[in-house]
Subunit: 378 residues, 2 copies
């Protein structure tokens, strides 16, 4: 018997009641019983996005919502800043270029977040930029970007700000309206505690004015189509009905706990993980750290691929390795979504055993002690 | 207490074991436990598509797979025949035009299927056509098109044949390889007996050669991306994990029953429905009839919207009304996917009661008698 634990930055563990809600008998999406479900989930999403503006849902992975943002506001040749500091930032550039936009990649050293001042300077240098595409939590590096102040900067220009909050929404503080984030995209399989397969996008009034003039080719991911249908309380294409049922249940859990409490929980869990990591003599990778996921440098002399492998195969704990150029150099632990105190002690316990087996000097229990000290006082 | 029955051409009723499979605890799509699941479902899809060629899966509705076919083989300006004989045929034209292709819509009277000879003639008139886009079962009209012989016609030209088999795959006879269908697209929520949210596309060698030269803008729906990842037994973006678990279970049910037996079951159910409809003095809408869905003309003097409404609200039976220009003029009954004998008697029972209430002269039991006579002998 081996119990399994999922501590990756997505897909994350799904609460049993959410899994169950997703397994209810099928209902037709054009039938009246679907309408209150659709209304309720849309309102719940507005709460999670902290917006009074519409939030639309796609049957797709999070990347689909990113594509929807790009193709719905840009035209070929349009200038756009795409902030790159990891695999997902680079995806903004890839999508924009795939649709013929004039993407200006803004490269950040991996592990570091861009500062609002740099965006301000770039917008002065390129006053014709239509949109700034940015990543809230860069899942590949564990970096959190200050989108609050970047929101202020972009709001005072003609450009719109498009935020990839796929892994951060519902885990990190985010106020779409107050922070003037024009389009925020997210996915189901992270802090929303759902299976993958649904993606979301909120749209500000400023972003909405761009939809009419956008000339990028689009069909399935046309935001206008979804917005037009939303007004009639429906969807342009068959929605992922079972995932919508799961979303409804997940949103109920989120409302019950309260968004501020959820953000505080993620902060506490991440702080305990970081504290445990430090106590084990390991180093964190990111300078500007997210609570969503903690990236840890693989200690010298240890095979980086072995840490997640032993944890998974021998202890049943799934964490994430490094991606792209960080492969083998970091590992990533996420107490994200449906995660609490003893998910942290579980993953640290397995990590201590794993590091010891790999020959790293570990005083067993030292990481755990540090984590418990965090929990004792917060 | 009101039991509910779903007899629409999608979403269709999902077997309890498939719903349950989709509610299993989340697994990570890059973890080794996902690999055998992915391999098994891909092989199962090849069986359902009757192909030895790759079948790729998208997290999207069926329309997403249609878009994938268009954007992955065409370039802006490319000539394509789009056969229109209903709402879904028109969708081919819309997608092709959205991406700047030179779509030549081939209009059919709704209710009628195009003949292979007409395609042959069109291909002679337009020898530079890159692709023919067609609908196997036009869900909006209940028409089935002879894609077997159209496959032969297109195979002897330079064009490729792209078939929307979203509602037909797994219900109507279809041999992708033998019939030389280059790209076949389908969706999860029809005969595959799954919730909506997954879509599929098979790709022939002939179609594959077009992927390199295609210049339509694309990212999420790039077939090349999915094929490249399939070779490494993975997906370019996070797949719909819970739906993949459901698919695995649905494919097991399909294998157990056998594709030929499933086609025969759908034929028998459709024949019984048609027989019942005739016995009630009603007329069928389609001339070239699919087994997927039976479109019935609303009798004169009766409010067409009321038939599905009474059946649903008063009897708990969801059937479909007419779409687009057929709104109020037809209603559609589908014994599709997870459906058998007593789904047919249930829907006919409710229809008899409904028609009688609406003042249509009905001898109660007459439609049922005709259906039972079909079941008695087949």
């Amino acid at each position: 018997m081996k119990k399994r634990y999922l501590l990756t930055p997505g897909p994350t563990s799904v609460p049993p009641e959410v899994l169950q809600a997703g397994s209810r008998p099928m209902i037709h999406h054009r039938a009246p019983e679907y309408e209150p479900l659709f209304t309720r989930t849309n309102e719940g999403l507005q709460y999670v996005f902290q917006t009074t503006k519409p939030v639309v849902s796609f049957a797709s992975s999070g990347t689909g919502a990113m594509e929807a943002a790009v193709v719905s506001i840009l035209s070929p040749g349009d200038k756009a800043l795409t902030v790159e500091g990891g695999k997902f930032g680079e995806r903004w550039t890839e999508i924009a270029q795939a649709y013929g936009a004039n993407a200006i990649p803004v490269q950040m050293e991996w592990g570091h977040a861009i500062k609002p001042e740099r965006i301000e300077k770039l917008l002065r240098e390129h006053p014709d930029v239509k949109a700034v595409f940015i990543t809230h939590c860069e899942t590949s590096t564990g970096v959190l970007t200050d989108i609050k102040n970047i929101g202020q900067v972009v709001a005072s220009s003609d450009a719109v700000l498009v935020v990839d909050a796929i892994s951060s929404l519902g885990a990190e503080m985010l106020y779409s309206d107050e922070w003037k984030l024009d389009i925020v995209v997210s996915g189901s399989q992270k802090a929303l505690m759902m299976p993958p397969g649904m993606a979301f996008a909120s749209i500000s009034t400023k972003a909405r004015t761009l939809l009419q003039s956008s000339k990028c080719s689009k069909y399935y991911f046309s935001l206008s189509k979804y917005l037009k249908n939303l007004e009639k309380n429906t969807t342009p294409f068959t929605p992922a009905v079972s995932l919508t049922l799961a979303l409804d249940q997940a949103l109920e859990l989120i409302r019950k706990e309260g968004l501020e409490q959820i953000w505080a929980r993620h902060e506490r869990l991440a702080r305990a993980i970081r504290s445990g990591i430090h106590a084990l003599g390991l180093e964190l990778f990111a300078k500007d750290r997210a609570n969503v996921v903690t990236a840890v440098k693989v200690p010298e002399g240890i095979d980086g691929a072995k840490i997640p492998k032993i944890m998974r195969d021998d202890y049943g704990i799934t964490i994430a390795g490094g991606q792209a150029k960080l492969k083998g150099k970091i590992f990533r632990i996420a107490a994200l979504g449906y995660a609490d105190t003893f998910d942290v002690t579980t993953v640290l316990s397995a990590l201590e055993l794993t590091l010891k087996r790999l020959g790293h000097p570990v005083k067993l229990g030292s990481g755990l002690k540090a984590a418990l000290e965090v929990f004792e006082t917060s």
